[in-house]
Assembly symmetry: C2
Homo-oligomer: 335 residues x 2
């Protein structure tokens, strides 16, 4: 299945297809120098398979985890391209999860002021969400995604076969973002998630998520308006994430709960549980609240949050710090 992200001159195809990895050479323009960036926890055969289909591959494996979204690793990728005499007409290919895609994408966005970028996501999280839409970035001093660009890929290749090697916790981690999108933007997909077992329907879930994200990004490429819906669960989620014990999707799961009307929350809880996601956690509540307060999205005493009063109809709402605190306290007292 092919979806086209319609962004004028920056339009591109998203190809969702079992076995696509083995067809990269046909589906992408790899007859040039290709910097293939992959992660230490990504099965090495994936990058190797892509490399075999490139004319002149250069494979770089970065350590797994957010720590690689750093200035030193970013600089290393740029230097590697410089050493290999990469030209404006060469390209970068990400083979891995969200960290690899964000990092490699920013290197592609800025090397020689921007070269072609292909994304081949191999985790649920990156397949349903982070590999499309063009947000690329690195972190600085523990603040996530603070330096980066909007740089759309030339093409995205999604091969669900790569999910077979993914640990179950990582599958759950990615499902959180799919549930997030259904909850804010697609009541039908949300009902599907409620009514069906999830693992056998992974392709349907990926496709549904991609369709939602495509629609939102097309409306708002640089996140000035409706794209902020995709931040549902992330205001409190990032605060929880900063305490370090949970994965991104797990934190988003927890972060969604305080933002829902009671009957939405009642529907969301069993879906999260079915997906293997946490719905309550034992963290230092004061520390999490401090981290939320330091979030970059606060403007004075107000913050824009995404709330869902009706499934499929999320909205951005500006609330006071106090109102957010009340939601935060109430959600976990109940849980």
């Amino acid at each position: 299945m092919t979806l086209t992200m319609e962004l004028g001159a920056r339009s591109y195809d998203i190809i969702l297809q079992r076995g696509a990895l083995s067809e990269a050479g046909r589906l992408l323009e790899l007859n040039r120098k290709c910097l293939i960036v992959t992660g230490a926890l990504v099965p090495p055969q994936y990058a190797a398979r892509v490399a075999r289909q490139c004319a002149r591959p250069v494979v770089v494996t970065v350590p797994s985890g957010e720590g690689s979204k750093s200035f030193p690793v970013y600089e290393m990728l740029c230097r590697r391209m410089l050493e290999e005499n990469f030209h404006r007409t060469d390209c970068v290919v990400a083979v891995g999860g969200g960290v690899v895609g964000d990092l490699a994408g920013f290197a592609a966005a800025s090397f020689m002021r921007g070269i072609d970028f292909y994304n081949i996501p191999t985790t649920v999280l990156s397949q349903v969400d982070s590999s499309i839409g063009g947000k690329v970035a690195i972190n600085l001093d523990h603040v996530k995604n603070i330096v980066g660009a909007f740089w759309q890929p030339k093409r995205v290749l999604i091969d669900p076969d790569t999910l077979r090697t993914l640990p179950p916790r990582q599958v759950s981690n990615g499902l959180a973002e799919a549930i997030k999108m259904a909850c804010t933007s697609d009541a039908e997909l949300f009902a599907f998630l409620e009514e069906n077992p999830l693992p056998p329907h992974m392709e349907r879930i990926i496709e549904g998520s991609l369709r939602i994200k495509k629609r939102i990004v097309e409306q708002d490429e640089t996140e000035r308006g409706p794209r902020r819906l995709l931040n549902f669960g992330h205001t409190i989620g990032h605060g929880i994430e900063s305490t370090g014990a949970l994965l991104h999707g797990e934190c988003v799961a927890l972060g969604m709960l305080p933002m829902c009307a009671p009957d939405v929350r009642a529907r969301l809880l069993p879906v999260l549980e079915k997906a293997g996601l946490p719905t309550t956690a034992e963290w230092d509540r004061a520390a999490v609240w401090q981290a939320i307060r330091h979030d970059k999205k606060f403007a004075g005493d107000a913050v824009d949050i995404v709330v869902v009063d009706v499934v499929g109809q999320g909205e951005v709402r500006r609330v006071t710090t106090e109102a957010l605190k009340a939601r935060f306290d109430a959600a976990y007292r109940e849980a």
Copy 2:
């Protein structure tokens, strides 16, 4: 005088006006946090004057010279904005020459995936050329501008009064880029440069250069086509520059000579001399040629160079390495 760079949603005004620096608060939107980046050799009163007109200024002075267009200085600027809790709605203001503009512009292009950027160039070189057009970058391992972005400023403020404090060699340095643009693109401006003393006509020269550059950038924002005309003199110029003894404009002056037809060269030589620019130099010819060969613009055995056979009608031409070498040898044997 105000020129508008017409680039659709990225259009902006270029204001050329004596005393503009003192009106920055009226001409720019400074009622927010402003990271003001300036250079150690820029008279500090310029940044201070701008800072007084900002609601919440943060002034950072970077060392002078290309060395500041580096990953560590770029990271430092991003960290400074992070520490000062800069938001997407805040801005960066460059007050200085090309190094300051390129560096500060890249920080603006990438901090939070892009925030507003104002450029207030204070040298001839940046006023006639580098401050407009949106090319921002840093260097890596002595390769110039290898990592960067196309990020258009929100407005450019050009105050010719700042040139009074500029050493004469820096005035000549900037005039080289004005001569370059006249030679490739504006026979009338070139004739003006031939027929008049230059220092009393600096505003006319700046305005003429801006009009040429505006036209070229509007045709080709991301340098895929006609914008490459602006590289006239830069292929050999960058090679000479890498030997380290001369300023950028001086190298461009020397780099233009081999690219001209004999009668164009005969007209160019006296203009360069009048501007105080070198027309011959004592460098290690083999070393310069090696540096030229390593230039990033070479594709195999061919390179695109800009040649001027008729004043005002520069063109991009693909030549072999041998043909370039012949031009290189011939020009300086004669000189």
